[in-house]
Symmetry: C2
Subunit: 364 residues, 2 copies
Amino acid sequence: MRQLHVELGERSYPIYIGEGLLNEVSSYFATHGISKKSPLMIVTDEKVAPLYLDAVTASLTADGYSVVSAVVASGEQSKSLANLELLVTKALEGGLDRKSAIVALGGGVVGDLAGFAAASYMRGVKFVQIPTTILAHDSSVGGKVAVNHPLAKNIIGAFHQPEFVLYDLATLQSLPEREVKAGLSEVVKHGLIWDNAFVDWCIEHAGDLVAMKPDALGYALYKGCGVKAQVVSQDEKENSLRAILNLGHTIGHALEAVAGYNELLHGEAISIGMIGSAKLGVRYGASQELLRITTLALESCGLPTRIPAHYDTEEIVAAMMHDKKFSEGTVVFVVPTEIGKVEIKPDVPVQWIREIIEELKQEG
Amino acid sequence: MRQLHVELGERSYPIYIGEGLLNEVSSYFATHGISKKSPLMIVTDEKVAPLYLDAVTASLTADGYSVVSAVVASGEQSKSLANLELLVTKALEGGLDRKSAIVALGGGVVGDLAGFAAASYMRGVKFVQIPTTILAHDSSVGGKVAVNHPLAKNIIGAFHQPEFVLYDLATLQSLPEREVKAGLSEVVKHGLIWDNAFVDWCIEHAGDLVAMKPDALGYALYKGCGVKAQVVSQDEKENSLRAILNLGHTIGHALEAVAGYNELLHGEAISIGMIGSAKLGVRYGASQELLRITTLALESCGLPTRIPAHYDTEEIVAAMMHDKKFSEGTVVFVVPTEIGKVEIKPDVPVQWIREIIEELKQEG
Ligand SMILES: NC(=O)c1ccc[n+]([C@@H]2O[C@H](COP(=O)([O-])OP(=O)(O)OC[C@H]3O[C@@H](n4cnc5c(N)ncnc54)[C@H](O)[C@@H]3O)[C@@H](O)[C@H]2O)c1
Ligand SMILES: NC(=O)c1ccc[n+]([C@@H]2O[C@H](COP(=O)([O-])OP(=O)(O)OC[C@H]3O[C@@H](n4cnc5c(N)ncnc54)[C@H](O)[C@@H]3O)[C@@H](O)[C@H]2O)c1
Ligand SMILES: [Zn+2]
Ligand SMILES: [Zn+2]
């Protein structure tokens, strides 16, 4: 088992990464002082529930925990205020009190939704992350939780750190291949913003990663979580540094919005977005090599790098203008300068982005 | 003008109390560094809007602020997730960004709703409280914000402190008499938990308070806010001391729930609840004088002290069991020991409360 530490003063917590951790899940709850007197609520989705909910519940109840569960539909649409209300109903009916914990068992959707429920139920109860997707190596670390609004993604949320993150690599084996690839997008992102040697490693081991070889996967997720943990430790509330984690997300979120949150997976959308960011980097003077390596890393992982031709450029730009990374009317963008390094540019001309979106469509 | 300070480290803020402050509202925004580059959103209700929205908007726009406003229905039902969604829609349409502020102009309903919107929009933007009811001397200080769920009041929320509280006493003159009395309930509460001389003062000046004499009102609200500020400074997140502010609220919230949040006003419900708490205090050994003075203070302010006979006792008890002040299955209760002093009892028998509810009905 590998272990990482997210340093946030009194909100610090560990990330446990290993094979088969789910079987001994209750011991982690006990170690972290989660009370057995107050009911827990496990939040999961309808695909994950049949696979892993029984195992988690069995381990917890065998150890004296009382457990309520809530199963939502699978997919981005579940990150809604309607589901927040549903979770609160279940929590109240299940008797959850201020010492209870809410547990996310699933991907980033379940993590973001359950996390916002934990942040707001009774103005905040304990939260535990049990990620079951590759993408969730990113979403489960750092405490950003949220639901969507019809006009914008992740716009209603909070910062609410988990007590611990328990990452059982064995659960990843049941992921559909498309989800595996989409998850690798954020792994590559963590290399692109922080660690160029790790980007090289990803290119070299892309085949093993897509094939879900346990050794490669374990190392990649350990590295990815490690970058995330370091960034978050330095800037929990995204006052400055943390914004680098949004590489590819400004265009990516806009693509998701235009696609109605179901045609493109989050990881696919930001893969395209990161190509866009690399193109922007080149416009600002970075070498063509930056774009070449970025494209190679993402393509090796089987990720899309082009915008489907039928997407409307102006619709994408309009969706971007609703995005929360625009502050005081200026367009903020995370721009790579070389592999492993990015900068926050506060004043990127919208016209440049419009042109890059066009390029991303035409080469498709 | 009187001024108080809520000491909370980097989240500290002032409370300004005086006549006519609304006319110079923009100067307070400027003093507190609220950016003119990002739009503000004023949240108010349909009764307050025609009275004060124009004045506030005019002062702000004259000074270069750009202002969006959202008007919700008047009443407790407006503290809903549906209205949270509506406010976020308005905020997005109005172009609010991470440097924007959301401003509550109204009573506790608007304050709690707008505050939760400010806490969760983009994971938290600045918040300003401009209370316009007497009750809001309580709700506008301390950072508790929330919406209701059909099964429980204030169950979905956050701690989100305002940048400042601007309390213009002139706005209170338009309050209906019933709202005046209901608001005095929390004023009396602040005496009952903290300051027995202030309870005597309230009894002596109850006539002036109900008649809204400016001098008496100004002093009472200054004292009430002062007690609230001191308690919150010592325990922002309600780990211990802050729970004393819930005097009368366990029974009070249950009464509001049973009445469907519209028959009884919040202040009326907690007035009855405080009589119940005084009765409990007597059972635990306090003198009858405690019950007599509590009753006198509340009755002098024209507040109800009995439960309407048609309320079902078991329904009230059931509503209490959903209340968030029950931790780990035990019944927590704020119990007065003498005027100006209360204790938190973690283990009050539900049967005692049932008996007290019966008494409160029979004497009605
Ligand atoms: N909070 C953050 O910091 C953060 C960071 C990145 C992404 N996110 C969010 O994460 C979400 C995307 O996360 P995701 O890709 O994990 O999506 P997801 O939760 O929808 O999971 C993807 C799919 O895989 C299924 N699934 C999950 N685990 C499985 C398993 N072990 N076996 C088989 N199927 C499984 C799910 O049912 C779903 O159909 C987005 O909403 C995004 O906004 C949040
Ligand atoms: N957050 C906290 O710490 C806290 C503390 C106490 C109470 N509360 C909450 O506060 C709410 C009750 O507050 P409230 O009593 O102010 O209710 P409210 O906001 O509903 O206001 C009462 C009524 O007065 C009207 N009104 C407001 N200002 C007016 C004015 N100046 N002139 C004429 N009419 C005016 C309103 O439209 C409403 O009809 C409850 O929801 C309660 O849960 C919160
Ligand atoms: Zn992402
Ligand atoms: Zn109250």
